[in-house]
């Protein structure tokens, strides 16, 4: 089955329609996406799989509003966002999206609390509000007592949980996770996956996760396979 627009759900949270992405020009040009169609429902937990060069990272970058498609349309909550400029996309990320990376990407020499506060700073929240929201997010990932520790003083699993706290502190609609367990052992990986599942079920955050590992993908409700710049297949688990 190839990916397509489900007729029974006219307005999903995210809709990619015939999205292409081309890097470079002339001889060196590379067609990373060749017409991707993908609907993502509100509250979904989607795993994105596929070999290197299949287009999954490019798709994630576009979904994360870090990059723009060369052609095709990208609807977010019913709005066309494929033509948004740099700053408008940044504001979109700030308001609706949260990011978790394979390498954690926390600011070094900065406490967990200050790391988690960062998105709130850019939103212009007051000091008191920042503190309360950041502590709430840290409590949610079970790291309240570690608020004053810097990344160097935390284990890999803890660092990734700080990163998740930072991603959810603004109560985003969508959490984009790029191989969140790639740098963790299996025990920590399970902890992180359980945390993401919990955020998805309890807080209703839509989770989009790139992964290589089928065991991690198994936590997802929907698994999308990419191949050669196209959506190759979509598996949906029964609810």
């Amino acid at each position: 089955m190839t990916g397509g627009i489900s007729a029974d759900n006219p307005e999903p949270l995210i809709r990619l329609a015939n999205v292409t992405k081309r890097f470079g020009t002339g001889e060196a040009a590379f067609q990373a996406l060749k017409g991707v169609d993908l609907d993502i429902e509100q509250g979904d937990f989607m795993a994105v799989m596929g070999p290197s060069g299949s287009g999954k990272s490019t798709t994630m970058n576009i979904l994360g509003c870090l990059d723009v498609p060369s052609s095709g349309s990208f609807l977010f909550r019913g709005h066309h966002v494929e033509h948004l400029g740099r700053d408008q996309r940044a504001l979109l990320r700030r308001r609706y999206l949260g990011f978790v990376f394979q390498g954690f990407n926390l600011l070094a020499r900065t406490t967990a609390l200050e790391n988690v506060e960062l998105p709130l700073l850019y939103r212009g929240e007051d000091k008191r509000v920042r503190y309360q929201m950041a502590m709430a997010a840290l409590d949610k990932v079970g790291l309240g007592p570690w608020a004053k520790h810097t990344p160097a003083e935390l284990s890999g699993g803890q660092q990734q949980r700080v990163a998740i706290a930072r991603a959810i502190v603004t109560h985003p609609d969508v959490l984009l996770a790029d191989e969140p367990t790639g740098n963790l052992d299996s025990e920590r990986s399970i902890e992180i996956m359980e945390l993401l599942t919990d955020l998805n079920r309890v807080s209703g955050i839509t989770v989009l996760m790139v992964t290589h590992e089928p065991e991690m993908a198994a936590y997802a409700r929907t698994i999308v396979h990419f191949r050669d710049g196209l959506v190759h297949s979509i598996e949906r688990k029964a609810a």
């Binding site: 994360g64 870090l66 408008q88 940044a90 990320r93 990011f99 990407n105 900065t110 850019y122």
Partner: protein, 411 residues
């Protein structure tokens, strides 16, 4: 889809981020601003010391009270050799100036001789000035002890004297000079007064290394002639000193038969002109040294740009994180710009504090007044901030223009 944050909010936020970033790298931050510290320190120190020196000159001149003109035989720009020696002044010349010229408040003749002053076992080579009370009036020179010459002592050329503090210091230990008798060369002389300390003159000579006697006493007993070395004229500050100078010159030409195309065989020095020249020389030196110091401030700015550029590269990933989280380019740029400005302002502040204490110490050491000029300090501080803006702009723009995907991938 969402509102932007107000600019003031933005600056407050970025300032906080900048301060956090600086705090995280204290040593690096300090090394970054060292150039600014040295630059501001150098400029402010030089200007402050220069102002002190200028004030010192000014104080000495205004301490003289009235405007002083010194009339000397010979030409200042003497061609050397050849012509005949210009005739010295006579006491009649002095009397001639006193009466007809407006604006003259005091006229004193001066004869000079070198002699060794001896008191008990101590001796001190010094300069003996033969003159009158008018000399003290002209220079606003006070006594700390004793009295001045009486008319009778001046008329008769009595062997009495006033001592400068340098002479007193070197001859009298634990004894009051007034009333004692000291020997000057071959003559003996009664001390009737001690002069107040006057300090260094404009050319560094010690004004206090002198013994003052009545003119006639010096002429008769030390120089052995009626010649007068110089005529000291005090002019009323209300009068134009150049006009007074010209009147005296005209009178002297008449008395010395200089007419037609003949050149003056005397010179008139104006203390005001000398002071002005000294002031302008001091000011020029200050300006030159300050300009050199300002170059180091510029070099400091380049240092900041250098480190900020390295910092942008080093913190590429951090910038990527900030952009991914939703910072707009403007915010990242502002953060780096604010960081540069905060850094250079901190550097400027450290430089100002260092300069303050250094100039305080050096002023005391060089015996010049400490002149704290708020404007100089504010300007130097503002300039260091400006350097932060100028040299922080380029790295900040580079940071803001990074692509978040590439920045996040950066190792």
């Amino acid at each position: 889809m969402t509102g932007q944050v107000s600019t003031t909010r933005l600056i407050a936020t970025t300032a906080l981020l900048a301060v956090r970033a600086i705090r995280r790298h204290v040593l690096r931050s300090f090394l970054t601003v060292l150039g600014i510290v040295i630059g501001v320190f150098a400029v402010v120190t030089m200007v402050t010391l220069g102002n002190g020196a200028a004030r010192s000159v000014h104080d000495q001149v205004s301490g003289l009270g009235a405007n002083i003109l010194a009339v000397l035989p010979g030409t200042a720009t003497g061609r050397g050799g050849g012509g005949e020696t210009p005739p010295p002044f006579k006491p009649e010349d002095v009397d001639a100036i006193r009466d007809p010229i407006g604006g003259v408040t005091a006229v004193a003749a001066q004869a000079q001789a070198s002699a060794t002053a001896v008191f008990n076992a101590a001796n001190w080579p010094t300069t003996v000035n033969g003159t009158s009370d008018a000399y003290l009036d002209a220079q606003n020179w006070k006594l700390t002890d004793g009295r001045r010459f009486s008319d009778q002592e001046e008329q008769a050329g009595k062997s009495v004297c006033l001592l400068g503090t340098t002479v007193t210091k070197n001859l009298y230990v634990g004894q009051e000079p007034v009333g004692t008798t000291l020997r000057l060369g071959s003559i003996s002389c009664t001390v009737i007064g001690v002069l107040a300390t006057r300090g260094q003159g404009g050319f560094g000579q010690d004004n206090d290394d002198t013994v003052i006697m009545p003119l006639k006493a010096v002429q008769r007993r030390l120089t052995g002639s009626r010649d007068i070395r110089a005529i000291i004229v005090a002019a009323d500050p209300a009068y134009d000193s150049a006009a007074v100078q010209e009147s005296i010159a005209a009178l002297m030409r008449q008395r010395r038969n200089i007419n037609g195309g003949k050149l003056d065989d005397f010179t008139i020095f104006d203390s005001k002109q000398i002071a002005d020249t000294l002031s302008s020389v001091t000011g020029m030196l200050t300006a030159i040294v300050s300009a050199v110091a300002a170059i180091s401030l510029l070099v400091g700015g380049i240092g900041i740009m250098n480190i900020m550029l390295v910092s942008v590269t080093e913190r590429t990933r951090e910038i990527g994180i900030r952009l991914a989280i939703g910072a707009v380019g403007r915010e990242v740029m502002l953060q780096f710009l604010v960081e540069a400005v905060v850094l250079s302002c901190i550097g400027g502040l450290i430089g100002l504090v260092l300069a303050f204490f250094t100039t305080l110490g050096l002023s005391a050491l060089l015996a010049i007044p400490f002149v704290f000029d708020p404007l100089t300090n504010i300007m130097a501080f503002a300039f260091s901030g400006l350097i932060g803006v100028i040299f922080g702009y380029f790295p900040a723009r580079r940071a803001a223009s990074l692509n978040p995907i590439d920045a996040l991938r950066h190792e």
